[in-house]
């Protein structure tokens, strides 16, 4: 029982990171109708932007590092939208897909040129101390990661449900032509959406870099793959559905690690994906354009 609860907590911590990255995928896919293969590497750029800020101004602490991560990732995401996604808008889906894949390759290898291909140490922004929470014990960093990601998810949920621009964002996701005909500047909302998705990813990247104490130019692949699976399993109709699935997949991985084997961990998410798509091809919560 104790192992179960402990792995449940560990799973929620990592699942919350998957959720933030997955929401970024889902926003780009539903609003801009692009499978943004560069999103995981925007996450990675955010991680290194935070690292650079922490190395340059070590006294400034966690908050500034998170902001640097948001700024770095946001800048790359915004540039990607302007230079690759927007010019290819309205063309074949395959075009933007290949475009973002190209940017992903450039970002990964560009970063590997700068920092080297091997993982580098991430600054310890918070103490490595355990805190007892009843039957489970989590590190300060785990708790911080969970709190940061949960806050981001709550903000996204609030944005899309309770603000004028957020409602317009959902309106574009469902019917872009009608949204435009009711005064929504679709191009502007697309820019805001990518900026938001990228900044969130940058913050989550700094948080998870701190959690594991390392960063790598190729870190995006792991989180990107899991997040992409989360979006497919949930379907893109409800952003909250994507969040719930991401948390569940985090928990499932932790349980597989705890009870079976850590080598099965990464395969487990794929089994879930295959199973769900077999019975519900539009995802658990349904998809647009389906």
């Amino acid at each position: 029982m104790e192992l179960f609860l402990q792995q449940l907590a560990n799973g929620l911590v990592i699942g919350s990171t998957y959720a933030v990255v997955a929401i970024g995928f889902a926003l780009a896919f539903t609003v801009l109708r692009v499978i943004n293969f560069a999103h995981p590497d925007i996450f990675m750029v955010g991680m290194f932007a935070g690292l650079a800020a922490a190395a340059r101004w070590p006294a400034l602490g966690l908050l500034v590092t998170l902001l640097a991560g948001a700024a770095g990732a946001g800048l790359v995401g915004f540039a990607l939208e302007r230079t690759v996604i927007a010019p290819l808008r309205g063309r074949d889906v395959l075009m933007t897909l290949i475009g973002t894949l190209g940017v992903a390759i450039v970002l990964q290898n560009g970063m590997a040129l700068i920092v080297g291909p091997d993982p580098v140490a991430y600054p310890s922004l918070l103490p490595r101390r355990f805190i007892d929470l009843g039957p489970v014990a989590l590190t300060v960093r785990q708790i911080a990661n969970f709190a940061i990601c949960l806050l981001l998810l709550a903000l996204v949920s609030f944005y899309v449900r309770a603000t004028s621009y957020g409602r317009a964002t959902r309106a574009i996701a469902e019917r872009p032509d009608v949204a435009a005909a009711f005064g929504v500047n679709v191009a502007r909302i697309c820019q805001i959406t990518i900026l938001l998705a990228s900044m969130m990813a940058g913050i989550a990247a700094v948080s998870v870099g701190m959690l594991y104490g390392s960063a790598s130019a190729f870190v995006g692949l792991l989180y990107g793959l899991k997040a992409f699976i989360c979006m497919l399993v949930a379907g893109n109709r409800y952003f909250e559905g994507v969040m719930v699935v991401a948390l569940a997949i985090g928990i499932m991985e932790a349980l597989v690690t705890g009870y079976l084997s850590s080598s099965l961990r990464d395969a487990a998410a794929f089994f879930v994906l295959i199973g769900v798509l077999y019975f519900r091809p539009n995802g658990l919560f349904g998809s647009y354009n389906a």
């Binding site: 317009a168 959902r170 469902e174 409800y238």
Partner: protein
């Protein structure tokens, strides 16, 4: 010049297939004009082109005499005071009724005014007040048409483009919808409507165009058009 909208020699193609060819029409403030035509005649194509959602191959579209709509994006066209009731309602089905109406007022900076107008719509359509927190996709066809019309009115438009408001509705509801169209027009809002239900549309309109495979074949005052042999044959059942 008091004309609200003038379309001149409009031609629109899907690829190499012409959908609309050489269509000219106009509407003045406060008028209710109808474009009658069968499926595939090009009615929806005209509406979508007016809104900047399709690019025409040739022709001119002018609003209030001098504004060229062809140079504008859909959201800019909306801000001139043009609203749309799309074919088949096209609500945001995953959003609540209230959120659909709020989006109808997206371009209005004064959100308190939007709130007032939503309140006025709930006065006019008590059924929508009852269902304000339900998602629009869960409503009946007639209720959805009320939301679609209310959504278009929230921006207090000067010109309303209605695309087959009677499509897929029960006969009793169709009568309600046409009464509502007349009521909206009486408020001073000009309406350009496309319809297949010629009998009902000709009763409310003051001017009618007949569209056949992308061409306007007849046009004139609604009561005259209704009496023509060709119209009776094509649109009113053919037992003239």
């Amino acid at each position: 010049m008091s004309e609200l909208l003038r379309v001149t020699d409009l031609a629109v193609s899907y690829g190499s297939v012409p959908a609309v060819d050489g269509v000219s029409l106009a509407i003045e403030p406060g008028e209710l004009r109808v474009i009658l035509g069968a499926n595939g005649a090009g009615k929806t194509t005209i509406i979508k082109t007016l809104f900047g959602l399709l690019r025409p191959r040739a022709g001119q579209i002018r609003f209030e005499g001098q504004i060229d709509l062809l140079g504008l994006k859909p959201h800019q066209i909306h801000r001139l005071g043009i609203a749309w009731v799309p074919e088949g309602r096209q609500l945001w089905n995953t959003l609540t009724v209230t959120d659909n109406l709020r989006l109808g007022g997206f371009a209005e900076a004064d959100k308190a005014l939007v709130g007032q107008r939503i309140g006025a719509m709930f006065e006019r359509f008590p059924r929508l007040r009852e269902r304000q927190d339900q998602i629009a996709g869960s409503l009946s066809g007639g209720e959805q048409q009320m939301v679609a019309i209310a959504r278009a009115l929230i921006s207090a438009p000067r010109l309303l483009l209605m695309d087959e408001p009677s499509l897929g509705l029960a006969p009793l509801v169709v009568r309600d919808v046409f009464n509502l169209v007349r009521e909206i027009n009486k408020m001073g809002i000009a309406i350009l409507m496309v319809e297949q239900n010629a009998r009902q549309a000709l009763k409310v309109a003051n001017w009618a165009y007949l569209l056949d495979t992308g061409h306007i074949v007849e046009s004139g005052p609604a009561d005259e058009i209704g009496g023509k042999q060709s119209v009776q044959a094509v649109f009113l059942g053919g037992h003239a």
